[in-house]
């Protein structure tokens, strides 16, 4: 399922390991737009949502095999951790993969992420090469 070249290669669109469906959840327009574009640039097909509800709805659509959720943890009016918890509650710990975007790398954030079954963390602002390598790493680990 995750056939493709070795993760070391950096060519943006060459690798089917990244060609997958991704949901990105961010509250504000700017972050959502930038994250979506960034993911598309590295070869992903993206659905951008702005609420936990939309995110869960999208995941429940059996015709769209989403593999990863990119989840902004620091959103006003919405607790990113709560969304992660709900995803794990409804869909279990193996799917989808959750990669959290966070402004903070404090230990307690990291720990909470681990507890919630988050598969990866990226510090904001997100750089393209960081998103690329973190996605590859998470997808690679999941396939092992």
């Amino acid at each position: 399922m995750l056939a493709g070249k070795a993760p070391g290669l950096q060519h943006p669109n060459s690798n089917s390991i990244l060609r997958g469906l991704i949901i990105t959840l961010a509250y504000d327009d700017v972050n959502r737009t930038v994250t979506k574009r960034l993911l598309e640039k590295i070869g992903c097909e993206v659905t951008a949502v702005s609420s936990g509800f939309e995110c869960l709805s999208a995941l429940s659509n059996v015709e769209m095999p989403y593999r990863v959720v990119i989840l902004d943890l620091q959103m006003p009016e919405m607790d990113g951790f709560e969304v992660a918890m709900k995803i794990r509650k409804f869909y279990g710990y193996h799917w989808p993969l959750i990669i959290a975007l966070t402004a903070s790398t404090e230990d307690h954030v990291r720990e909470r992420c681990l507890q919630m079954g988050v598969n990866g963390m990226i510090q904001k602002p997100v750089l393209l090469h960081v998103m690329d390598s973190e996605l590859r790493r998470a997808l690679q680990s999941a396939s092992e």
């Binding site: 509250y27 504000d28 327009d29 700017v30 972050n31 737009t33 930038v34 574009r37 960034l38 640039k41 620091q74 006003p76 402004a103 904001k124 602002p125 750089l127 393209l128």
Partner: protein
């Protein structure tokens, strides 16, 4: 990026330029437009909250958290710095500090807006040849 932008925009802005290509030739300007729409709304909310005189520092901090978030995404470094200071004053419950810093936030925001408007105008005048040169 140009000398006039130095200090106002950081590497994050350059990341945005990297995301622009033939398929999305106006990406940076689109993001900037979104940013100014969002930030105008937030500035308005904060203005109103401050004018009311009731210093709900939690609420003010919330607004500023959002503002800082999108300012970071577009690479607005000076605006971001002022946002951070404002949040510090919120944490300390310092009303006067908040008022003072907010004036700075608005000032940097307005300056950035003018600079970006000018920047995009130049980019449009330069035309597709310039865009092709800039994108990889």
């Amino acid at each position: 990026m140009g000398k006039c932008m130095q200090g106002y925009l950081d590497e994050q802005f350059m990341e945005l330029e990297e995301l622009q290509d033939d398929v999305n030739p106006n990406f940076v300007e689109e993001v900037a437009t979104l940013y100014f729409k969002d930030s105008a709304r937030l500035i308005n909310s904060i203005d109103q909250a401050l004018e009311r005189g009731s210093f709900d520092f939690n609420r003010l901090d919330n607004y500023m958290h959002q503002f800082k978030g999108s300012s970071t995404s577009i690479g607005a470094s000076k605006v971001k710095t002022e946002c951070t200071m404002f949040r510090e004053y919120c944490r300390m419950g310092n009303a006067e500090g908040c008022l003072r810093t907010f004036q700075q936030v608005k000032k940097e925001h307005a300056t950035l807006r003018k600079k970006l408007e000018h920047y995009f105008q130049l980019a449009r005048q330069a035309g597709p040849k310039e865009t092709a040169r800039r994108s990889k």
